[in-house]
């Protein structure tokens, strides 16, 4: 069994040094890998990224991350990514990695994702340039996720994103804002690629468990939803072959 620890939306500010570290000290006893589902910072500053780097470095298991909308706020994404990378945290955006875990190959591909809404209640790539840019951003990211998941040669395949790929895990949020919380195209990418588990954050008031139209389990790991420093999923030998 592959044990995947995950958390999103830790929103660490400059004053947050050590907030999660006590719970993370025994992480290797719980899990083989830690996945961070975006919104690692409050405003996306370099100072906050250094707090994130200190919190999640040298944990004894590989740490992979995607960024969230808060991490984009100050438009310092490449500097943030560099700070996290220097701390051994691999930031995914349209790419993936394969990790050996107990004789199995765990593949993880990640993107930030974006909004747009869910089938029958979503925006269209039509009309004003602002609308086309919004929906076009979603489509571009979903395509990147699909090819990144597709390219993984692995036994178990996990999709990591910040925005939600299905509406069920948003349950608890006002339905009117679902189009700002996720997009069905992300779920389509998950379903098209033999993925075993999809993880996301962003919906602080949502619910933990959902499933894609194709039957892939989805988990919202936003820290306010899981109510702990991280949560752990045990994945039995995957269905996703090469």
């Amino acid at each position: 069994m592959i044990r995947i620890a995950a958390v999103g939306d830790v929103h660490l500010g400059e004053d947050a040094h050590g907030r999660l570290r006590p719970a993370l000290e025994r992480l290797p006893q719980h899990a083989d890998v830690l996945l961070l589902a975006g919104d690692l910072t409050r405003h996306g500053t370099e100072e906050e990224a250094r707090v994130v780097a200190a919190e999640f470095r040298d944990l004894g298991v590989p740490v992979l991350a995607v960024l969230g909308n808060h991490d984009y706020h100050c438009d310092e994404v490449s500097a943030l990514t560099q700070i996290l990378t220097d701390a051994g945290i691999q930031v995914l955006e349209g790419d993936g990695v394969v990790l050996p875990v107990g004789g199995l190959r765990l593949g993880v591909a990640g993107v930030k994702g974006f909004g747009g809404g869910f089938a029958g209640k979503c925006g269209s790539n039509f009309g004003e340039p602002e609308m086309k840019a919004f929906v076009g951003h979603t489509i571009e990211i979903a395509d990147k996720l699909r090819s990144a998941l597709d390219s993984l040669s692995c036994d178990t395949r996990v999709a990591l994103m910040h925005y939600a790929p299905v509406p069920q895990t948003l349950h608890g949020e006002p339905p009117e804002i679902y189009p700002f919380l996720g997009a069905y195209q992300l779920g389509e990418a998950v379903d098209a690629t033999g993925t075993d588990l999809a993880l996301h954050g962003h919906a602080h008031m949502g619910s933990e468990r959902g499933v894609t139209p194709g039957g892939v389990r989805v988990r919202n790991v936003a820290q306010p939803v899981i109510r702990s420093a991280f949560t752990v999923y045990g994945l039995e030998a995957g269905t996703g072959e090469d």
Partner: protein
């Protein structure tokens, strides 16, 4: 940004205060719900720490000194998790 007055509908006031909590860099909280009932403002949702929760009061009191704020926001737990969920 205008303060409260007799002509502002409570829905608009709630929307304005909610945006203030999202857009003020001291709070930057997009997930805090604001409900207005007369002179009373109720906050719900969750934030990562006690300081973040107190900052919500601080920003609202600065925007609208007379407001009675009821801060029901939860501070998110950061302990070790319970049993893992096994997905086959």
């Amino acid at each position: 940004m205008p303060g409260p007055d007799d002509t502002e509908a409570p829905q608009y006031r709630a929307a304005r205060l909610r945006r203030a909590l999202a857009e003020d860099t001291r709070t930057a909280e997009l997930g805090v719900q604001v409900t207005v009932r007369g002179e009373h403002v109720y906050l719900s949702g969750s934030v990562p720490s006690r300081q973040r929760k107190e900052e919500l009061d601080h920003v609202l009191h600065e925007k609208e000194p007379g407001t009675r704020v009821h801060n029901d926001v939860r501070v998110v737990e950061a302990g070790e998790p319970g049993e893992p969920e096994v997905i086959e």
